[in-house]
């Protein structure tokens, strides 16, 4: 698969990464190379093979649905770039 500039722009938008217009050409080439490299997997016969989601041979552990942690807003907010009255602050999202 060879990626064009528009596709790279779309992926960057999905990934919420600002990419400058003048970087698109270079990125398209680089990403296309990588895709060509990984596409050699197509030659492997995987009929009837179940996808491996985890190497850990275990059932997902369960626990009671109860609060086990929390009640320290100061610690949660300690690294916030912007905060007011115990809240994280973001740009206005509702017009």
């Amino acid at each position: 698969m060879s990626l064009d500039k528009a596709t790279v722009k779309n992926i960057a938008n999905l990934a919420r990464l600002e990419v400058r217009e003048d970087e698109l050409d270079h990125l398209a080439g680089e990403l296309s190379n990588i895709l060509q490299f990984v596409e050699q997997l197509a030659e492997v016969n995987t009929d009837g093979v179940a996808p491996m989601t985890s190497v850990a041979h275990m059932e997902l552990p369960r626990r009671r649905d109860e609060v086990t942690d929390g009640n320290y807003p100061e610690r949660v907010l300690a690294n916030a770039p912007e905060r007011i009255d115990g809240f994280f602050v973001v740009p206005k999202v509702v017009e």
Binding site: A15, L31, L41, L60, R75, V76, V90
Partner: protein, 490 residues
């Protein structure tokens, strides 16, 4: 260079017990070495005051006979482990001012065992790299030099390059690494160290900055196999806070070092001998096989037929998981923030300013292979091939007890020596990635020097949760190889 910094962990443990020196003296000797070696750029953040405070506590515990297994031993902590009250950057601009309010499980266990942390060691940004050159805080220099040209600055390997350089230069006795595709084993090979990636699930991932969650695993980097066994013992164990943490018994790893490998079958995979394999690495491998034979083990040729697909599989699975994991860096709750007119603009600008080139590349690839229309063709396909790779190993372990391969295709290379093609750099991990995909324990042990005087390591791969066999065989090889070379100036 103080005599104290030349000790192994095992020797220092005895010295402290016998009161030949104190933990404070041991820590001060290592802090002096850290101060004298800043040119290596091995540490991102030094914590000398905290270290001295901890060393005093260690001396008090030693005096009361309450010493932990690592009491008073100076170590380095890869800056991917969140440490309470100490900046934890992952060597990324996006986390350059991040001070965790909690402690990772593994770093907490090491502190509880009495280890004295001298600071946070450098890595490739978010552990994505094989040379430590993608760090936002500059490259790390390998303390080893080429005989032919000592002026060339070599890379320590990556991603755990700061840890490797620090242990190799005798700034700390051991250090933590994390390994997703080879990030403990390859730098260990480049710096003449023992590096062990345990079985997936052996060490808790809780509090380690996530890269690829189905692959990430913490492990020790030390100068001897015994030290690796000692340090590993204080890193492992079940942790309910990590849903993939394995609830299995923790053996006494040091007790596994019996020196007796008679009758053991050692798999030699024929697919690890690609056409371009250097004569030097081939010879290293053959010498290693000879050492095991001499010790009474039997080499057995095995086949791991899907080996050549491991790298492309990894470069779908790892970027996919990376793009999901790194979605959390949005400039809202922590990390770098660049203002924008809208929320989306703020996200995009913050992430563009915070992530370096290699990280951005992997996020974009990961986003693409997970996107609608491509998910089955790339991601699901890779997960299927991953199973075939894991099955290859399972089949091999029906007949052999351990597998021996080279760790890396070359010795340490020079800073800036690799070309612009990212795949060239990725080829460094060609021998370590299959083990990671299969979740198996892998260890690199130094067994020889290149013609240019640089260390080279061999990799031992074991069955799931059989770190004991890996360590046992590694110690036999360590003894047979008699690897006593040290970097210039040590």
């Amino acid at each position: 260079m103080s005599e104290l910094t030349k000790l192994t962990m095992a020797e220092a443990r005895e010295g402290l017990k016998a009161k030949r020196f104190t933990a404070v003296e041991l820590t001060k000797a290592h802090l002096a070495a850290v101060g004298a070696a800043r040119g290596l750029n091995a540490f991102v953040t030094e914590t000398p005051d905290l270290a001295l405070e901890r060393a005093k506590l260690s001396d008090a515990k030693l005096a009361k006979g309450e010493a932990g297994p690592l009491e008073g031993l100076p170590i380095g902590m890869k800056d991917l482990f969140c440490t309470e009250g100490v900046r934890s950057t992952a060597c990324s601009r996006i986390l350059e001012n991040f001070v965790p309010t909690y402690e990772s499980t593994v770093s907490g266990k090491l502190k509880d065992a009495g280890a004295v942390v001298l600071g946070k060691t450098a890595l490739d940004e978010f552990a994505m790299g094989s040379s430590n050159e993608t760090s936002a805080f500059g490259p790390v220099t390998n303390p080893w030099k080429r005989k032919s040209d000592p002026s060339v600055k070599l890379v320590p390997g990556g991603s755990s390059g700061g840890s490797a350089a620090a242990v190799s230069a005798r700034l700390v006795m051991g250090a933590t690494g994390t390994d997703t595709g080879g990030s403990i084993r390859q730098p260990a090979s480049f710096c003449g160290l023992v590096g062990l990636k345990p079985t997936y699930g052996r060490c808790s991932r809780w509090g380690i900055v996530a890269f690829a969650s189905s692959l990430d695993q913490a492990g020790p980097m030390t100068r001897t196999v015994r030290d690796a066994a000692i340090m590993l013992g204080s890193m492992v164990g079940y942790d309910p806070k990590d849903s993939t943490s394995a609830n299995v018994a923790v053996p006494n790893f040091e007790a596994a070092l019996t020196g007796d490998i008679r009758g053991m079958k050692v798999g030699i995979p024929k697919e690890y001998r690609p056409d371009g394999l250097s004569a030097e690495i081939s010879k290293l491998w053959a010498d290693g096989i000879g050492m095991l034979k001499d010790a009474g083990a039997t080499p057995v040729e095995i086949s791991l037929p899907h080996t050549k697909y491991a790298l492309p599989t990894y470069y779908i699975v790892a970027p996919a998981e990376c793009s999901s994991n790194l979605a959390r860096y949005d400039g809202v709750r922590y990390g770098k923030r660049v203002e924008g007119k809208t929320l989306d603009e703020m996200y995009a600008k913050s992430r563009a300013a915070g992530f370096g080139k290699e990280v951005r590349r992997r996020i974009l690839i990961g986003t693409y292979v997970l996107s609608a229309g491509y998910y089955d063709a790339y991601y699901i396909k890779a997960q299927k091939v991953r199973r075939l790779i894991a099955d290859d190993f399972a089949k091999a372990f029906e007949t052999v007890d351990v597998i021996l391969t080279p760790t890396a295709p070359s010795a340490a290379f020079g800073q800036g020596e690799t070309d612009d093609n990212p795949i060239t750099m990725w080829l460094n991990d060609i021998f370590t990635i299959p083990t990671s995909l299969a979740g198996l324990p892998g260890l690199s042990v130094p067994t020889g020097l290149s013609a240019d005087g640089l260390p080279l390591g061999l990799q031992l791969i074991g069955r799931p949760f059989d770190e004991e066999t890996v360590l046992k065989v590694a110690e036999v090889m360590e003894r047979a190889a008699g690897f006593t070379a040290v970097p210039a100036g040590i």
